[in-house]
């Protein structure tokens, strides 16, 4: 699928090459552009209003104007001074980072093994892992909670993280991509006397970097925004992740919408900034993960 996409991209480029006469922009195209532009602006309006309101004074939130009359950062100072958001931010960052690293390592190791090794039981292991894709997380939260309670994992980083340390989706995605690594490369490394762990890490892994990046984006975003499990497993305010913290803060702030919007902005802006910086890269990763996974 992906290679087909690449092929078509190339051909669409040749279509626009200087040799072929370019059609001048006609009215139809202009109207199409204007409609799509309006739609796109509407799409980002909720984000724009969130940021705009987080910069307004309380008396101004009734004002529909997108640009605040007297923009200020008092709301941010107020929300961050409290200290809780800072802690939730750190919690979310640590949890999403560790989970991402774990998925990168284990999903690719399992995907690689299932793709490149021939051993009895290979098919059964593959099917067993794949079958877990059909089980919704919601079915597992009650047993996970009981398990966490029994082992004292409630209200800890480990408790929040353990269900997501490996995913069948990531394993399947990586297996698909290791198919593109030629067996000759691995064979050659074996003849050079590298052990299997070194072959995986130094020969195969560098060849699937784009897939690793796609996996990292999905896992990080998924854990950064995860809500139901962190909500269940955490009790103390200190252990909340950003979404759980924001949810409780929203209730507490009641009608102080400028403060709620500030909290929402604090949890949303980091991923938006990362997206704006790595835009092309992330969109390619999403397409790759979407079509192969």
């Amino acid at each position: 699928m992906v290679s087909a996409v690449a092929e078509i991209r190339a051909s669409s480029k040749t279509l626009l090459a200087p040799g072929t006469p370019r059609k001048p922009a006609n009215t139809g195209q202009v109207i199409r552009w204007l409609i799509l532009f309006t739609g796109g602006v509407l799409m980002v309006m909720p984000i724009a209003y969130m940021i705009s309101t987080s910069l307004k004074w309380p008396h101004e939130i009734y004002n529909l104007a997108l640009v605040p009359n007297e923009p200020h950062l008092e709301n941010y100072t107020y929300v961050l001074e409290d200290g809780r958001f800072y802690g939730w931010f750190v919690n979310s960052l640590v949890i999403a980072t560790i989970t991402t690293i774990s998925n990168i390592l284990f999903d690719s190791l399992v995907g690689y093994t299932l793709c490149k090794f021939r051993f009895p039981g290979r098919y059964i292991v593959f099917i067993a892992i794949l079958s877990t894709l059909m089980i919704p997380t919601e079915m597992l939260v009650i047993p996970w909670y009981l398990m966490s309670q029994a082992f004292g994992w409630l209200d800890s980083y480990w408790g929040i993280m353990f269900p997501g340390l490996m995913t069948a989706f990531g394993t399947f995605l990586m297996k698909q991509f290791f198919e593109t690594v030629p067996d000759d490369f691995i064979e050659a490394a074996r003849i050079d006397g590298l052990n299997e762990l070194a072959i995986w890490w130094t020969v195969a892994m560098p060849l699937v970097r784009p897939a690793l990046a796609a996996l990292a984006i999905f896992v990080f975003l998924g854990n950064w925004t995860a809500f139901i499990w962190p909500l269940i497993v955490t009790n103390s305010v200190d252990m909340y992740t950003l979404p759980v913290g924001l949810s409780s803060f929203g209730d507490e702030a009641d009608v102080q919408w400028e403060l709620i919007m500030t909290g929402a902005a604090i949890s949303t802006i980091p991923t938006l900034v990362v997206f704006l910086v790595f835009q092309r890269f992330i969109i390619r990763g999403v397409v790759m993960a979407g079509l192969k996974g």
Binding site: M43, P136, M139, T271
Partner: protein, 295 residues
């Protein structure tokens, strides 16, 4: 010992060594809990007392619970509105965006940006939009235009679509990107041949584009259906004062599971609901794959 093994045998040893930790993980964190959820669904347990066997009592209770049927209906309303609406909107946008070159990347960025947001944060933003005057954005706009107020989140009929809107909105970017990739994968020569034959744009869309996009459509339908059937973050955060309200009119199955398990501590009853959710997801996915693949 290891050195005496043949290359093939060495590979078997390495393979199982690599798989050892992951196999333990999948057994303990995925398979055992799945079985455990099914066992608990046949028990009575409030976390403190003893577990006692309940037979099919939890399922019978579910069958006779009017709230469950309300929730069941809501869950399918989320699915039956959310999936087609987001499918049509994202296809129309992708189809036209694919034909534009001028500032293509910028427009694509605008449409994709909501996908990178946190559902909880955006649920609160939309909740603010829906507030009555003078606070809420939508009602302020209506007031300015001289149109009567709408009680979005307080209405038993409008609250569900009002909660569904941000869920659809946040998912559009992903679907548009996937549709555009699907559109690019259709060989240009098909279109050129059709154009030479003088076929109308409309016929090209129905006879060439849509049939060839089938794998993409199947993927998006199944993927987004699973998402809408499991809706939780938006509902919970937009109705925190009365989760799933007003009068359970917005409560989806996952929220009922959460409340049964972690508000009422009725673990057996909640587990029975998770088994029902599992069956719903399984059946809906299989039916969709069957219908969309054959056809």
């Amino acid at each position: 010992m290891y050195h005496r093994l043949s290359i093939r045998q060495k590979q078997i040893v390495w393979a199982w060594a690599f798989l050892a930790v992951p196999i333990v993980f999948y057994v303990v964190i995925r398979f055992y809990p799945t079985a455990n959820a099914m066992v608990i669904s046949f028990q009575n347990w409030n976390l403190l007392g003893d577990r006692t066997w309940a037979g099919w009592a939890n399922y019978a209770k579910l069958w006779n619970d009017p709230v469950f049927w309300k929730v069941f209906r809501n869950t399918f309303v989320y699915l039956l509105i959310g999936t087609p609406v987001s499918l049509v909107i994202s296809f129309v946008i992708a189809y036209h965006l694919d034909r534009l070159r001028f500032m293509h990347g910028f427009l694509r960025m605008l449409y994709f940006l909501p996908f990178m947001t946190t559902a909880v944060a955006m649920a609160w933003v939309w909740r603010w939009f829906y507030q009555p005057v003078p606070i809420g954005l939508f009602n302020n706009v209506l007031a300015t235009a001289g149109i009567p107020q709408v009680e979005f989140l307080r209405s038993t009929t409008l609250a569900l679509p009002a909660i569904l809107a941000p869920a659809v909105w946040a998912g559009l970017g992903f679907q548009i990107i996937i549709f555009m990739a699907g559109l690019r994968a259709i060989p240009r020569s098909y279109y050129e041949a059709a154009r030479i034959d003088g076929v109308s744009t409309w016929t090209i869309l129905w006879e060439i584009t849509l049939p060839l996009l089938k794998p993409t459509i199947v993927f998006i339908v199944v993927f987004s259906s699973i998402g809408f059937l499991r809706i939780f973050d938006h509902v919970f955060n937009m109705t925190t004062n009365d989760p799933g309200g007003p009068l359970n009119s917005t409560k989806p199955l996952v929220l009922m599971i959460y409340q049964s398990a972690f508000t009422d501590f009725n673990m057996g009853y909640a587990a029975a609901q998770t088994v029902v959710l599992f069956l719903i997801l399984l059946i809906v996915s299989l039916v969709q794959l069957r219908i969309l693949r054959d056809n």
